[in-house]
Symmetry: C2
Subunit: 334 residues, 2 copies
């Protein structure tokens, strides 16, 4: 009896020793910097302080895990958006690839402009021209076919300045931020003005964000059973524009609860940040990425042609959103 | 040196003993029946067999966790839908509650019929009348206000036959099935013909399904900032009908990948089951709940007034979907 009790004690002590070892290893891991590509400036401190207070049980700012929703704009927030949106580069490439089946395009704007790489004529075609390009290249096939086209393009296309695949032009500090939030029980969503079906095929691999956590603009689809095979056919009709005041609408439609943190970089993200942060009382976090690094990436804001960070920058000061100065706050960009 | 090595060995042996104990405890747990309210008939065997083959690594039917998406209709599949959809009972109660602010309703159909409990006149108002009732009771307030109204109603309303809150009239076998799938790495979604914002306020508590995993019909919302406070205002305009051919569209819009298992109970679920299962090659699962139990619940199918399980029942035979005979296959209903 004594022998058994003694053995049990031995086992218990040894188990405790193992447990202590594990706890030590875990603490050591926790102490490695989760945001190594961020300089030790105010934005990093603000992120860490927010995450610590909403995850600390018993704190007045504690938020249960199920409500830790963080939303991220994509273009210019998670990856490069200059000299043009990546999805526009995709559309232009698709026009070129499909041109042999559309002989009429060489005499019809805006297609003519694309085929002749006449960016001035393309710009003159305006938003109407843009919608025509999108419909011609994003509709008229099944959702499975479109997914395949996007996947193949994103694997081979190269950014004109960096000569790299676009998926390598995602921002390393933001990848670390996504991982840090998820490690702290957050569910991370993309809320993009771009096409939902353009982002989904690669978002899981690149950002660790599954298709069901991508919100974006969409065209209408229709269920059909040609030859008895169920398909979703992509129609040339706008369904939803997930930009500006559309972003809170898209967030509500897809997520169904208000995020507690939002990350953007332009006026297109203004309403998303307002919806997320201006709720009174509880702890919320808003952040704008300010592109200030002409050397390592691009510098643009309210003043430039691409300058859509105007009203949002005013609102940031008013609402105490954190503004990231890319040049000063990011140790590494890609 | 020898002493240290010996101590280390002791610790290792003890740790192994602890681990063995844990494994034993886990196996014992795994052997308790995860579906106790299902009789040991074909449907239960089919579910277990499907789950085992898609979760067994190395099996030709193995599906990685991220792709284990299961979709569930709500009305008649997860909870009672007789004698009328619960959401219609909500709309009728709301008309009565709001009537004092709408004196014109007592002379206007379909509101007059509701206030006089004249179900024949209500039926005569048809789908047009139904849409009018939905718009009058579901729009004209913010999304936060609507959520509060639904939450208060669902906490107090009682089913006319069972005299219980509707949330107690969910099907126990289906709750077990949801939990069993989640324990096996599935992500479970509701794909309801009913209103997305009607289901979300209570789905997490009742089914363990968070708002972001609810797909449903919707009305349009608009972002507004009255008095500087961001709100989403509910407009009296249909946005999307998540029924029949709309279900695959809704699934694609919200989930962005094809489910591997779908559960329904009516012709409204036909296309969802087709979209899920008719893909060739890989392992898929389709199930229809057939209401056959007049004593414990209701019995209805193709022949009854509420009989919308007609085309789907034919398709079940064709596509080898599992049909649950409620009376024979469910040990307990609520």
């Amino acid at each position: 009896m004594f022998a058994i009790r003694n053995s049990l004690k031995l086992v218990r002590d040894a188990a405790l020793a193992v447990a202590a070892g594990l706890i030590f290893a875990v603490s050591a891991l926790a102490q490695t910097d989760p945001l190594p590509s961020w300089n030790d400036t105010a934005p990093k401190a603000a992120i860490v302080s927010f995450v610590e207070k909403v995850t600390k049980e018993g704190s007045p700012d504690f938020v249960p895990e199920s409500e830790r929703i963080a939303v991220f704009d994509n273009d210019g927030t998670l990856w490069v958006e200059h000299p043009m949106y990546v999805q526009l580069a995709f559309a232009l490439d698709r026009v070129k690839a499909e041109a042999p089946s559309h002989p009429e395009w060489k005499d019809t704007q805006p297609f003519k402009a694309v085929l002749e790489s006449d960016m001035k004529a393309l710009a003159a075609a305006g938003e109407k021209g843009l919608v025509e390009l999108i419909m011609a290249t994003h509709a008229g096939m099944t959702s499975d076919e479109f997914q395949k086209i996007v996947s193949e393009w994103i694997a081979t296309a190269r950014d004109p300045k960096f000569k790299k695949p676009y998926t390598e032009l995602v921002y390393q500090p933001m990848l670390e931020l996504l991982a840090y939030l998820r490690a702290n029980g957050f569910k991370t969503f993309i809320v993009s003005g771009g096409g939902i079906e353009f982002v989904r095929p690669w978002a899981e691999k690149v950002y660790g964000i599954p298709p069901e956590q991508v919100v974006g603009s969409s065209i209408k689809t229709q269920f059909e059973m040609p030859d008895g095979t169920p398909t979703l056919f992509r129609l040339p009709q706008v369904d939803f524009i997930d930009d500006k005041a559309g972003k809170p609408v898209g967030i509500n439609a897809h997520i169904g609860r208000r995020p507690i943190a939002a990350f953007g970089n332009s006026d297109g993200d203004l309403e998303m940040l307002q919806w997320t942060t201006m709720t009174g009382g509880t702890a919320r976090f808003g952040m704008l990425i300010h592109h200030t690094d002409a050397e390592r990436e691009y510098a643009y804001d309210r003043a430039t042609e691409f300058g859509r960070l105007d009203k949002a920058l005013d609102a940031a000061a008013l609402n105490k959103w954190t503004v990231v100065d890319m040049k000063a706050d990011w140790k590494q960009i890609h």
